[in-house]
C-alpha cells in the first residue's frame, strides 16, 4: 500500500452554544446524519458516504471553537510508532481508551505548537448509514441538504506555525502542498497526508487554538451552487462565495454554523502526489490565492475565528 501511516482526517470535535440548533443545522442543512448521543451529551454525526462511526463531534459549551482534530492511521501499530516519534520530538503524548467515544478505538493525543490538540486513532466501527460494499449504488440513503460527502479538512489559526510545519512533516510524514510567505515570514501552510491538496492547514495568528473553518466535501461545482441556494433559503450566515481558491483550486463557500463556527463546502481541488513540489505564494498575489475570483482577502479572513 503506497499510502500508510497517517491516512486522512478522521473526525473533528467542535463546541456549540445551542445543541438542538447545531444538530438541526448539521443534519438538515449540511446533510449529515446523527449517529448517536454519548452518555456525556456529546453528539456524533457523519455523512452517509462515510464508513467510519463518526466524522463530526459536537460538544455543548459556553464558547464556540475547536476541541480537537483526529486523524486515522492504517494500523494499530502506527499509534505506537507515532507515539515514539512524537515523544522524541518533545511533545507529551496522552492516551484515550477505546470506547471513550462511541465506536472509536484507542487514541493518542498531543498538543502542537499552535495550541491545537491533535489525536491519532487506527480503529473505528462502521455505523449506519454507510455505503454498501457489495454491488454498491452511488448512494444508499438519498443525499439531502447540501449533500456533504465527508468531513474533508480544517483550517486552524495559531502562533508558531513554522513549528507546526516542522512537526507535521518530520514526525507525522505530512507534506506541504502550498505555502504563503510574507516579507516578515511564513503566513500560512497547507499540509497533506494523502492525495488531497490539503488535509489540514494553518494560518499564523497571535492567539492559540483557534478555528477558522471546518470543511465538507461536495461532489461538484453544481452542488456548491445548490449549497448557496440552501444558505439563502434558510438564512444561514454567509462569509463569502460561491467562489474559488487559487490555493488548492477548490470551489467553495464560507458560512457560519448557528454558534458562529465557520464552515466551508468544498468541491474539486487538485490531486497531490508526494513527489510534487510545494507551490508558493507571495504578498503581492496572496489575495488571488485565497479568493481567486475576488483577488483579495475579505475583512473576515484573517480576523474572524472561534
Amino acid at each position: 500500500m503506497a499510502i500508510s501511516g497517517v491516512l486522512r482526517p478522521s473526525f473533528i470535535q467542535i463546541r456549540v452554544l445551542d445543541m438542538p440548533a447545531a444538530i438541526d443545522y448539521y443534519t438538515k442543512r449540511i446533510g449529515f446524519h446523527q449517529v448517536c448521543e454519548g452518555p456525556d451529551g456529546r453528539v456524533y454525526l457523519k455523512s452517509a458516504d462515510e464508513f467510519d462511526h463518526h466524522s463530526l463531534v459536537l460538544r455543548r459549551a459556553d464558547s464556540a471553537g475547536i476541541d480537537m482534530m483526529a486523524f486515522k492511521c492504517l494500523e494499530d501499530a502506527d499509534l505506537d510508532r507515532f507515539e515514539k516519534r512524537v515523544t522524541e520530538y518533545g511533545f507529551a503524548v496522552d492516551h484515550v481508551k477505546a470506547g471513550e467515544m462511541p465506536g472509536a478505538g484507542r487514541r493518542i493525543g498531543f498538543t502542537i505548537a499552535s495550541g491545537h490538540r491533535i489525536e491519532l486513532l487506527a480503529k473505528s466501527d462502521m455505523s449506519a448509514p454507510h455505503p454498501r460494499t457489495h454491488n454498491p449504488d452511488v448512494w444508499d440513503v438519498e443525499p439531502h441538504g447540501m449533500r456533504a460527502r465527508r468531513f474533508d479538512h480544517a483550517l486552524l489559526y495559531g502562533p508558531d506555525i513554522e513549528k507546526n510545519l516542522d512537526f507535521f512533516t518530520k514526525v507525522l510524514d505530512f507534506r506541504c502542498a502550498e505555502r504563503v510567505d510574507m516579507p516578515d515570514g511564513l503566513l500560512a501552510i497547507w499540509l497533506t497526508c494523502g492525495m488531497k491538496a490539503h488535509d489540514i492547514a494553518f494560518v499564523k495568528y497571535p492567539e492559540p487554538n483557534k478555528l477558522h473553518h471546518i470543511a465538507f466535501d461536495l461532489e461538484s461545482w453544481n452542488d456548491v451552487g445548490h449549497a448557496a441556494d440552501i444558505l439563502t433559503r434558510y438564512d444561514i450566515s454567509i462569509d463569502i462565495g460561491p467562489t474559488r481558491h487559487g490555493i488548492t483550486r477548490g470551489q467553495t463557500i464560507y458560512f457560519f454554523d448557528p454558534s458562529g463556527n465557520r464552515c466551508e463546502v468544498f468541491a474539486g481541488g487538485y490531486t497531490y502526489y508526494p513527489d510534487l513540489p510545494t507551490r508558493t505564494w507571495d504578498e503581492q498575489q496572496v489575495g488571488k490565492g485565497i479568493f481567486y475570483y475576488e483577488r483579495k482577502m475579505n475583512d473576515a479572513f484573517l480576523t474572524v475565528v472561534t
Binding site: 452554544l17 459556553d62 464556540a64 458562529g260 489575495g287 480576523t303 472561534t306
Partner: protein, 117 residues
C-alpha cells in the same frame, strides 16, 4: 527581476506595502485585507453573525432587548449585566442606543494578526 517594494503611509491609519508594478489603490485594498489600516471611515464590524467570534461587541447605552446565547469567551456574565453584548445576538424590545466596543480577543492580544511591515 522582482519588482521593487515600497511603503505607503496612509496618515492616521497605517502603513501598506506596494510594489512598483501595481496601482497604489490595489495595495491599499490588500492592506485593508491584512488589517494593516486602522480607524478607516467606520465600517460595521461583521463576523460570524451567530455569537461565536465576538467581532460585533456593543454596549447598549439604553433600551430593552432580548438575547440569544453568545460566547463567554467574548461576553462575560459581568459584561452582559452591564449591557455589553454581541449585536448579532440581541433583538430589540424598544428603541436602543448602542456604542461599538472593542472585541475582547483584539483587546487581550493588544495586536492584530499582522502588524504593518
Amino acid at each position: 527581476m522582482a519588482p521593487r517594494r515600497f511603503q505607503i503611509t496612509l496618515e492616521g491609519h497605517g502603513v501598506a506595502s506596494a510594489y512598483e508594478n501595481e496601482r497604489v489603490l490595489v495595495a491599499l485594498e490588500r492592506a485593508q485585507g491584512f488589517g494593516q489600516l486602522k480607524n478607516m471611515p467606520r465600517r460595521l464590524p461583521v463576523g460570524c453573525r451567530r455569537g461565536g467570534c465576538g467581532i460585533c461587541r456593543v454596549r447598549v447605552e439604553s433600551g430593552e432587548y432580548r438575547a440569544d446565547a453568545m460566547s463567554r469567551a467574548h461576553v462575560t456574565p459581568h459584561d452582559e449585566a452591564e449591557g455589553v453584548v454581541l449585536s448579532c445576538c440581541i433583538y430589540p424590545l424598544s428603541d436602543l442606543s448602542l456604542r461599538l466596543e472593542t472585541p475582547v480577543a483584539v483587546k487581550a492580544k493588544g495586536e492584530r494578526a499582522l502588524q504593518p511591515v
